[in-house]
């Protein structure tokens, strides 16, 4: 009992210092990152990109609309309990928008953040049906979601087979969690529509052991393999695919299974591996000159500063760019530079991502253009296919940004979001 009291007193002291610290005038962007554990290889580049872009705005422009940005980093380890702790620790400091980079934590935060009135932006992950903004008022998942991704993968296979994939066998290797299970419903619908056979192969957390799944793939010889993996699972899966000599051009990963860290360990064998993406890759953008000048050379880069230009670094930067542009939009809508989370929500909902805007930010043609509305929090769901070139060590886009099969997806999103609305007593609608 005595030790308990002592610890409680110590924690009280520390948290008192914590709460007294920051000035209220900053724009607070929490970064729930993970730099440790089995998902660190993917968590680090994303977080570095996110923070570096925010640092760039601070160093170059003095923040957004003249108000400096404050980054609150909190380590979640991709663990929901720590994610809750991080959310509670940062929400009191005026956090404007949460980007947890974890579908599991997103599911925790959806009801909590809705009740607290803080927006959540899940860029290409999280709960797919949050696209329906009439139900999920505080949740945004533009520019594309998992069901779009599943549809893109199937569309790509359709295009390769001249539009006929009936009787083909397609395997889904997925992380056995909320994240990995997201595309199953869509793939089942698509399998009914196009007549292919779907084989489901779950991989348990953390995914270091996949021998039996790939043995099954070797035995069943699916025409294509689609993967919903994350962290160490990606590297292992690609290595196993190389080991059983599975043709890499038939192996498609979702955008979270398409970073350099995932393919590099497999060496030349990974050549030709494909992954989806909803933004451009590489570092041929003017913003990188500024990043180098203001952030990296000034010694202010997050982490080790060695992730610039990787696929996930770009995605983290893209997430930060969308969030800060939304904050700018919020400042314009409400005519004040010092915005609250509720104003930030209006900004996220009023975001209009145009080509001029992206070019002005030093990111010309970086992602698809889209406009968020109250009814559509998910963007247009455009996605492209990238392919890995092992000799050059780069990803390159092999398709244009294409639309997903909205004929199949829209009824699914409608049904799932309305089920949620009924479950939690929400009346759908736009005020």
């Amino acid at each position: 009992m005595a030790t308990k009291k002592l610890k409680a007193a110590g924690a009280a002291l520390v948290s008192a210092c914590l709460l007294a610290g920051p000035a209220a005038a900053d724009l607070v962007f929490p970064d729930l990152s993970y730099r440790t554990g089995p998902y660190a290889a993917n968590g680090i580049p994303f977080s570095d990109g996110y923070q570096d872009y925010l640092t760039l705005l601070n160093e170059r422009d003095g923040g957004i609309g003249g108000v400096p940005i404050k980054i609150l980093e909190c380590e979640t380890g991709y663990n929901t309990e720590k994610g809750v702790e991080c959310y509670e620790a940062t929400k009191g400091e005026g956090a404007l928008v949460y980007q947890p980079l974890s579908t599991g934590i997103t599911y925790q935060l959806i009801p909590k953040a809705t009740a607290d009135g803080i927006p959540v932006h899940t860029l290409g992950y999280g709960r797919t049906s949050a696209k329906n903004g009439e139900v999920f008022k505080w949740i945004f998942n533009y520019p594309a979601n998992y069901w779009d991704g599943a549809s893109h993968a199937i569309n790509h296979i359709l295009a390769e087979n001249n539009g006929d994939i009936s009787g083909k066998k397609i395997a889904l290797v997925y992380h056995n969690s909320a994240y990995g299970k997201e595309p199953i419903r869509t793939l089942e619908e698509l399998s009914a529509k196009h007549g292919f056979e779907l084989v489901l192969l779950p991989v348990d957390h953390p995914g270091q052991e996949q021998k039996s799944q790939w043995l099954q793939i070797r035995r069943e010889r699916p025409d294509n393999v689609i993967m919903w993996g994350w962290g160490v699972m990606n590297q292992v899966a690609i290595q196993e695919a190389v080991n059983i000599r599975y043709p890499m051009e038939n192996f498609i990963g979702i955008w979270w299974s398409g970073s350099e860290n995932d393919v590099l360990p497999a060496g030349d064998g990974a050549n030709g591996y494909k992954a989806l993406t909803f933004h451009n890759l590489g570092m041929e953008y003017p913003v990188y000159d500024d990043l180098k000048q203001y952030v990296v050379d000034a010694g202010k880069a997050a982490g080790a500063g060695d992730q610039l230009g990787t696929a996930l670094y770009n995605r983290g930067m893209y997430a930060a760019m969308l969030a800060t542009e939304a904050a700018r939009t919020a400042q314009e809508i409400h005519g004040t530079a010092d915005i609250t989370p509720a104003m930030m929500r209006d900004g996220l909902e009023g975001l209009d991502m145009t080509e001029e805007k992206m070019a002005g930010l030093g990111l010309p043609n970086f992602g698809p253009t889209f406009k968020v509305t109250c009814a559509n929090h998910g963007g247009d769901g455009l996605g492209a296919m990238a392919q890995w070139d092992a000799t050059a060590g780069t990803w390159s886009l092999i398709s244009d940004y294409e639309a997903s099969d909205s004929e199949v997806l829209n009824p699914l999103i409608e049904a799932d979001s309305l089920a949620y609305a009924e479950e939690s007593g929400i009346t759908p609608g736009c005020e």
Binding site: A11, E75, E85, A89, G425
Partner: protein, 358 residues
């Protein structure tokens, strides 16, 4: 000087047999309870409830449950995570199937269902012991997690396999769901912890607890003097799983609000609760509380000191946290193999003599 038995006279058997025979202990416990029940609810905020108080209270219930099985009855179990999952999924199914029934009843029923499952997986303990039993309960852990992942009925066929707790109220106050106030959830879990501690303490002082300890210390001797090993072992599994089921139910419904089984109730959870009772003290109710406090509060404290106080990078702090907590566990166990509860007991012995040790 303050802490002594001298002058504290008992005039009835009832007084002699009370839980805390020393007056100072009794007053300390009463004051702690009064503060926990009457003061804390007024000052607690979301952060303290969700990051510190709820995990501590819930893990303490689980630790009390596991301590009954491992500490009092000597049956090693690695199935805690799986049994917590049973409690969580049972509450979820009950909450969604019977929304009009009080959540308190659901939590207790979930404990009862877990007790049944626990007895089922406790059956091998009648034939196997020690490490072999640990492996058998490990099978329970993996089987239960697999089951809840595999059978869509358990998660009401939701697309993601997640279960999320709908809002339920007690006396008009939301206990589960996002609108629950910090003090309500805190009090709700605290009352369950007090219930668990009182029941466990009194069970272990009675016939049942003595038969468990007989089995733990030497099962053949216990059998010869008339303890029925079947009844003793299975009742230990039932009572232990009952508390663990309640902990799992609260963990899901009140604390997290949404869980997925592989992540929330994996093998790590089994080890975590087992470490809690080993560090706290096997066969001591107070040890369960201390162990839970140690493993729940210390990481949060370290994180706040290293990241919030000293401003170190989060990854460095996270790695250091593992090293410091691990180092402290080893140090504590070397210094006192019987856990924190034993340290406390030694401290009390010293206190009785203080300030005149001779």
């Amino acid at each position: 000087m303050l802490y002594r038995e001298a002058g504290d006279f008992k005039t009835s058997y009832r007084e002699d047999g009370q839980s805390f025979p020393i007056r100072f202990d009794r007053i300390a416990v009463q004051v702690t309870l009064a503060v926990a029940l009457l003061v804390v609810p007024f000052v607690i905020n979301d952060y303290w409830a969700n990051a510190v108080a709820l995990p501590f209270l819930i893990y303490a219930i689980a630790a009390i449950g596991l301590n009954i099985l491992v500490g009092f009855c000597g049956q090693v179990s690695l199935g805690t995570g799986g049994f917590m999952a049973v409690g969580a999924y049972a509450t979820y199914k009950l909450m969604t199937a019977f929304p009009e029934v009080s959540i308190i009843i659901h939590v207790l029923l979930a404990g009862g269902i877990t007790a049944g499952v626990g007895v089922l997986f406790g059956l091998p303990s009648l034939r196997i012991k020690g490490f072999y039993l640990a492996v058998a309960t490990l099978a329970a852990q993996f089987f239960l997690v697999w089951l809840f992942n595999r059978v869509p009925w358990f998660y009401n066929h939701s697309a993601s396999g997640q279960i999320s707790a709908p809002e339920r109220t007690v006396l008009g106050q939301a206990v589960t769901g996002p609108n629950a106030e910090a003090w309500v959830t805190y009090l709700f879990c605290l009352l369950f912890l007090i219930f668990a501690a009182v029941v466990a303490r009194n069970l272990t002082r009675g016939t049942m607890g003595r038969s468990w300890m007989g089995i733990r210390d030497m099962d053949i001797a216990a059998e010869i003097i008339g303890v029925n090993p079947l009844a003793a072992k299975l009742s230990a599994f039932a009572v232990s799983s009952f508390f663990i089921g309640i902990a799992g139910a609260l963990f899901f419904a009140v604390y997290l609000g949404a869980v997925e089984v592989g992540e929330a109730f994996g093998i790590n959870k089994s080890f975590l609760v087992l470490f809690m009772i080993i560090i706290g003290g096997l066969g001591r109710i107070a040890g369960s509380l201390m162990g839970a406090a140690f493993l729940v509060l210390l990481p949060v404290l370290l994180k706040n000191v290293l990241v919030g106080g000293l401003g170190w990078p989060t990854d460095l702090a996270a790695h250091l946290e593992f090293m410091i907590v691990g180092g402290l566990i080893v140090t504590f166990l070397v210094a006192e193999p019987h856990g924190l509860a034993q340290l406390w007991r030694v401290g009390k012995e010293k206190l009785r003599l203080w300030p005149f040790p001779h």
